[in-house]
Symmetry: C2
DNA sequence: TTTAGCACTCTGTATTTTTGACTGCTAATA
DNA sequence: TATTAGCAGTCAAAAATACAGAGTGCTAAA
């Protein structure tokens, strides 16, 4: 449907717009990319690209700007994703190899590095915990009325919490708790720690509610925990689109209503690098932004998701290249640790 | 020096400006606050207040705006700090009583609550760890090549970290580590965990560097950790002063260069509610903002500091009232737990 | 199919005009 | 002496106007 010339010109327009943030005119295309054809020819192609929905005009006498459909074609078909410098490769390797204390920290480090290399804002969330399989549970007495509960899962996730009591706990009780929790929960998914489990423990152990209740409560909190980390939010404010106060406000709001970001990061499949352009996933607030995400998974379980959010006019080539590279590195990392 | 009328009018002007964000004219003062005197009289007083440096004029035909000196008098002498509703009191009590798992979480909860009640952005940092006294150190084996290190201090702070090794660790080694660390460090400040301590352990235990090194490294990281938490950053963007893009950008920058905020939060004395107006602590970047802080201390050790940052035209009365209340509540809380 | 050329459109900017919100001062008043 | 009415003067912000130039789309020729 689109001949080679139109594809080429579309790519050039998007490239140019990404670089300058100004509507692109036929003259510029001729000057910088197509010295051998005339601006009238370019204009003809542009008119057709607009008719087909790939370009838009802010107004009659302005240049053209890519539409969401235009960006989509650009991202899906017109780009190559090997736009990553040796320097960046070296930096990323270095960062990822500095030993993280666990997969949660690893995700954070990856997100920070991504933000540093691309100069965009990144958002990351930890693993969806509820489906992870419990490998071990450990209670440790800290003082007479305080316990630390530690849970380890099959993906290498370790979470811990402090539990406080209104009465003293004995060493024997701790041993019994360790035995019961492990016996009953090892090999089960984390979501098994629920009210019915609380009832079971209560029936079996006959400990006072003052002991059982805080434990279960804290453990449940531990599972629900879904921290979301932001990196480089201020970098975005340097971009020209943020001169529009409305846009800037929208941006802050998107980052602040964490549910929205979590929803987007959670959707999509493992290990794909996914690109959401503007309001493709019909959310009005996102219409001026694009989000690029990928999931870090071990087996069939997600252990962390990272997203980059920036203006629609973001440097997709670099962002996606770097993400693919980091994704691959994390994968290698997991295999080495097997 | 300032007679009663001038003080009264100054307070009214600041009140009015805080409410409307618009320069205040003599007419408004007469209309809303001083029906019994004429605008000419108010104008005379305003002229004198300006001469004395309490008010400023954006330009000849505008109303008056408080100067930093004006705000200072307002905060120090003209306000009463009991501007807190029963509703807010109830809400704060509820929030603080929901059991936190430790003082670090308590500080975070207090900061969040403060932001919710005042609708301003809050910033909080945890305790300065290095001077805290070690009460107990505990190592727990998690699998054969992973240890959890837990440190408890006299203020009730608990920090833990995961330590990974390249070789197996035995239960005996863990016991020995527990003994040595506690024996040598109990009663000492956290900063004692340093290179010379590493050398000592290495001499005494003769464990391989592969064991000692990761432990000390992780422990040191634990102490240095100084997280800074932001709450309600987006709320500020709703304020009219943030229509100025420059201000908005400044604000983002202030929040992002964490050192600046940490510096300000760290200064000042325990348990005072301190108010910094504009560039009083001569930092150019802060000239359009005010910061109100207080420290939560147990004994002579800070366990957390909370700050509110907003435009100079912030609702000092409410902010300071709420802060004083929260400060008192935390104090009570500590005493109860003694 | 491509291109030169030109009329037309529309925005952004600069310039001027108008409006109206306030003040400061003067002179009268209590 | 302290207050006030009244008014001229000031200045910014808004509205109106004019202008330049960037870019397109179309026509007709190559």
């Amino acid at each position: 449907m689109l001949d080679e010339r139109k594809r080429k010109i579309l790519k050039e327009i998007v490239d140019e717009y990404i670089e300058t943030a100004e509507p692109v005119s036929s003259a510029v295309i001729v000057q910088k990319y197509e010295p051998d054809i005339s601006s009238a020819t370019v204009r003809n192609s542009m008119a057709e690209l607009e008719k087909d929905g790939y370009l838009e005009k802010p107004h009659t006498s302005a240049g053209r700007v890519p539409s969401a459909k235009g960006y989509r074609l650009y991202v899906d078909e017109l780009l190559k994703y090997d736009n990553i410098s040796l320097e960046d490769i070296k930096y990323i390797q270095e960062k990822l190899e500095s030993k993280a204390t666990g997969i949660e920290e690893l995700t954070k480090i990856a997100a920070t590095t991504l933000s540093e290399v691309t100069h965009y804002t990144t958002v990351s969330i930890g693993p969806k915990t509820s489906k992870q399989i419990i490998e071990e549970i450990k209670f440790v007495l800290l003082g007479s009325r305080m316990l630390m509960g530690i849970i380890m899962t099959d993906t290498g996730l370790v979470r811990e919490t402090i539990i406080k009591f209104d009465e003293d706990i004995t060493n024997e009780q701790v041993d019994t708790l360790n035995y019961f929790f492990n016996n009953k929960l090892k090999g089960e998914p984390l979501e098994k720690i629920d009210t019915s489990f609380e009832e079971y423990i209560f029936r079996e152990l006959k400990y006072s509610v003052n002991i059982i209740r805080p434990i279960i409560e804290q453990m449940k909190k531990l599972i629900e925990e879904e921290e979301i980390y932001l990196e480089g939010a201020n970098k975005s404010f340097e971009l020209p689109e943020f001169k529009s106060l409305e846009l800037a406000k929208n941006f802050v709001n998107i980052l602040d209503t964490k549910e929205l970001m979590v929803d987007i990061l959670d959707s999509g499949f493992a290990e794909d690098v996914k690109v959401y352009i503007g309001d493709e996933n019909d959310n009005e607030e996102l219409k001026d932004f694009s989000i690029v995400t990928f999931k870090h998974s071990i087996g069939d379980k997600d252990v962390g998701t990272i997203g980059i959010i920036g203006p629609k006019r973001m440097n997709y080539s670099k962002v996606i290249s770097v993400m693919k590279y980091i994704s691959k590195k994390l994968k290698d990392f997991d295999n080495d640790n097997k």
